[in-house]
């Protein structure tokens, strides 16, 4: 089983530690991981802006880089959702369809494909607020969303709950969107910032020392908000906790 690691552009540029933790975690779990060196981006910024023409070349490059693997794994729910649902500006050849359906978000991959629940090397003796980004939650369905009357389930919680020492804070609005929304964060900045402020304040009030998520894009926005507000709250990607980061 050969997997390719897809590192989102903003992780590559701003949060390489998340990519590193993802790679190390997958290696620890016995996965043969390749990292296509010419990868760039999934095309979501253009796709989400409706700019199909501008997305074409980036999408084609993605398929070129990630063709031929059994799995493409990414520490990003929103990028994974984009590849699976919206990589549609280019002709849908067999190769394109294959890459699209083989792309997995990290939690999905570890939980559903590798079927792992225990991470004996992990210890995180802190109170964390779990943030399920909207793409992970509602599009990839990694946990029950509050909107739907269905039995409770949570893949990220399944993975985190056995980590030694971890405690969970309970924010008042656990699955309200945090307001990142890609280019929304810039073009609708007033509402975006307000949503971010509300989100981090909610977690802080609930006692979270860290906010953990499978989506670094959400955390990047929340971190920016928390720092401006002066809230003593830290941000960490789920890959880092599962990989054994202590703080």
């Amino acid at each position: 089983m050969k997997a390719a690691l897809f590192v989102p552009c903003y992780v590559d540029a701003f949060f390489p530690e998340v990519g590193i933790a993802t790679l190390e975690l997958l290696e620890r779990l016995g996965v043969d991981v390749a990292y296509p060196l010419d990868q760039t981006c999934c095309g979501q910024p253009m796709g989400n802006s409706g700019c199909r023409d501008d997305a074409k070349a980036t999408e084609a490059l993605f398929v070129k880089n990630f063709g031929g693997f059994d799995y493409v794994v990414s520490p990003s729910g929103s990028c994974t959702h984009h590849v699976r649902e919206h990589l549609t500006s280019i002709p849908q050849t067999k190769a394109v369809k294959q890459v699209r359906e083989r792309t997995y978000e990290l939690v999905e991959f570890v939980h559903d494909v590798l079927n792992v629940r225990e991470f004996p090397w992990a210890e995180f003796p802190h109170t964390v607020g779990l943030h399920n980004g909207c793409a992970s939650l509602r599009a990839l369905r990694t946990a029950k969303m509050s909107e739907i009357a269905e039995p409770a389930f949570s893949k990220p919680l399944d993975l985190l709950s056995k980590v030694r020492g971890i405690r969970f804070a309970k924010p008042a609005r656990p699955d309200e969107c945090c307001g990142f929304g890609g280019t929304f964060s810039v073009f609708e900045e007033p509402v975006s910032a307000k949503m971010g402020y509300d989100k981090v304040s909610d977690h802080h009030k609930a006692g979270a020392e860290y906010i953990v998520s499978a989506d670094m894009s959400c955390l990047m926005h929340q971190k920016g908000c928390a720092e401006r507000l002066g809230l003593p709250i830290k941000f960490i990607h789920i890959a880092q906790i599962l990989n054994g980061t202590r703080e």
Binding site: A13, F14, L23, Y35, D38, T58, R138, M145, F184, V191
Partner: protein, 461 residues
């Protein structure tokens, strides 16, 4: 036609912190009440699927059901009119009033009449129109459109209402007790009900099987509007048709639970035929609905039963207020309907969304709202209605992100200068991200650089 600037309007809304706080909390509370109701019915998700399927069936057979509805309405003694657009709707209504010498009209809430801008049309022709729904009345007196389709004045605090009523109804400006204000409106409106020449309602549902008009209110103002005057006009969008009475068992169960988190509205009124010696007129209105029916990606929006659940759950709507959308229909449903009324004017609205999808999953008729929002963005980009700045940014992004070399050049230098820039250069009006957030600090290496240093022995592609 000037593009509505939702972001600018939202900025003003957010600055009024007391109003913003109340607005957000009140609508989130309605969302939570909805959750309690939906959680209490084991068949909730089955009902959503049923409601969606009944609506899709009806819409795909709409001409047949419209004709059946008309046949039965006429059999009941109602007169049925058809209006292709807003202008014709207003003219038809005016002609009905004029033919009966009607000068005063009391009306229940109808988003359709707001959509058609009926009130100013009638007022300019000497008809006195009184909104009787408390929220709509407040807005009418304040010369402001409704901001929410179920709770029209949700953006106002009691002090605002006290001011409006003091200026228009002569109430005590210093008394903002809500009971006092509601009682004042009740007493003020009563004489109008008793004297009005005509009454008007919209329709939540129009039943083809019986020609019945079903109106759901909590106040009872629809009933008062119909039972007192000798002339009743029901204005109905053609998408409100449902096939049979038994289907009300699905829709009435879902409407108020979705809208307000109560099992049913206080009054669920079924108007079928006029009282002896009075007239009942029904105006069936198209105004772009038939056109929308033919839009493969967007016709599902016609399933809407106007519950407002999407507005209550939308984190953007709650923090910007309905008026910031500049249209009769705001919030998520507005975002996917309004571009059909005017693409350019409403071209920014589909971007007033994070695509989080909450709206889609609270919608009682399973409209795929967030997916339609995504599709509208593609339409707007394809028709060159994006703001120039965004268009250019995407063009440049498309070039950089499709070239490994250009991409690497961009990210590998992103860090280089940033930490040395003085704050005033990083954080200024041009950097929207930095207005209320700190910018991420650039790390000493990118992931790729780390990988080449630490895993290069793997001989990868």
């Amino acid at each position: 036609m000037k593009r509505i600037d939702h972001s600018e309007a939202s900025s003003k809304f957010i600055k009024a912190t007391d109003h913003l706080d109340f607005h957000d909390k009140r609508l989130w509370d309605l969302r939570q009440k909805r959750d309690r109701e939906s959680g209490a019915l084991p068949e909730w998700e089955a009902l959503r699927s049923l409601a969606s399927a009944i609506k899709e069936h009806t819409l795909t057979h709409l001409s047949q059901y419209l004709e059946e509805f008309e046949r039965n309405a006429v059999k009941n003694g109602a007169t049925v009119h058809w209006a292709t657009d807003a202008a014709e709707h207003n003219q038809v209504v005016y002609d009905i009033l004029r033919s009966r010498g009607a000068r005063t009209l009391v009306k229940a809430k109808s988003m359709l009449t707001d959509e058609c801008e009926m009130r100013p049309f009638l007022t300019n022709r000497g008809i006195e129109v009184m909104e009787t729904d408390l929220g709509e009345r407040i807005q009418q007196l304040d010369d402001e459109p409704p901001s929410h389709i179920v709770v029209p004045a949700v953006h106002k605090l009691r002090g605002d209402v006290a001011r409006v009523f003091a200026d228009t109804l002569g109430t005590d400006r210093k008394n903002s007790d809500v009971h006092y204000l509601a009682e004042s409106q009740r007493r003020h409106t009563r004489p109008y009900f008793l004297k009005a020449d005509a009454g008007m309602t919209g329709a939540n549902f129009a039943v083809a099987e019986t020609g019945s008009v079903v109106v759901c209110t909590n106040e009872g103002n629809a009933d008062l509007s119909v039972h007192l005057p000798n002339l009743y006009i029901a204005c109905i969008g053609i998408e409100k048709i449902i096939p049979r009475i038994e289907h009300l068992g699905v829709f009435v169960r879902m409407l108020s639970r979705s809208a307000l988190g109560s099992p049913i509205t206080q009054l669920t009124s079924h108007f079928r035929a006029p009282r002896k010696g009075t007239q009942m007129h029904i105006v069936l209105v198209d105004n772009g609905r038939a056109e929308r029916l033919g839009m493969a990606d967007f016709w599902y929006s016609l399933k809407c039963i106007r519950c407002g659940a999407c507005m209550n759950t939308c984190p953007v709507y709650r923090r910007s207020g309905g008026l910031s959308y500049g249209a009769t229909y705001s919030g998520p449903i507005g975002v996917i309907i309004d571009p059909t009324f005017n693409l350019r004017k409403y071209s920014a609205l589909p971007f007033a969304s994070t695509l989080n999808g909450s709206c889609t999953h609270v919608c009682p008729v399973k409209i795929n709202i967030h997916e339609q929002i995504y599709k509208w963005r593609e339409v707007i980009a394809a028709r060159h209605q994006l703001p120039f700045v965004k268009q250019e940014a995407m063009r440049v992004a498309g070039k950089v992100l499709s070239s490994p070399k250009l991409y690497r050049a961009a990210v590998e230098t992103t860090g280089a200068g940033i930490e040395h820039l003085p704050r005033f250069m990083m954080y200024n009006k041009l950097n929207a991200w930095g207005r209320q957030r700190e910018v991420p600090t650039a790390p000493p290496y990118t992931f790729r650089q780390w990988y080449l240093k630490n895993r290069a022995d793997r001989g990868k592609k």
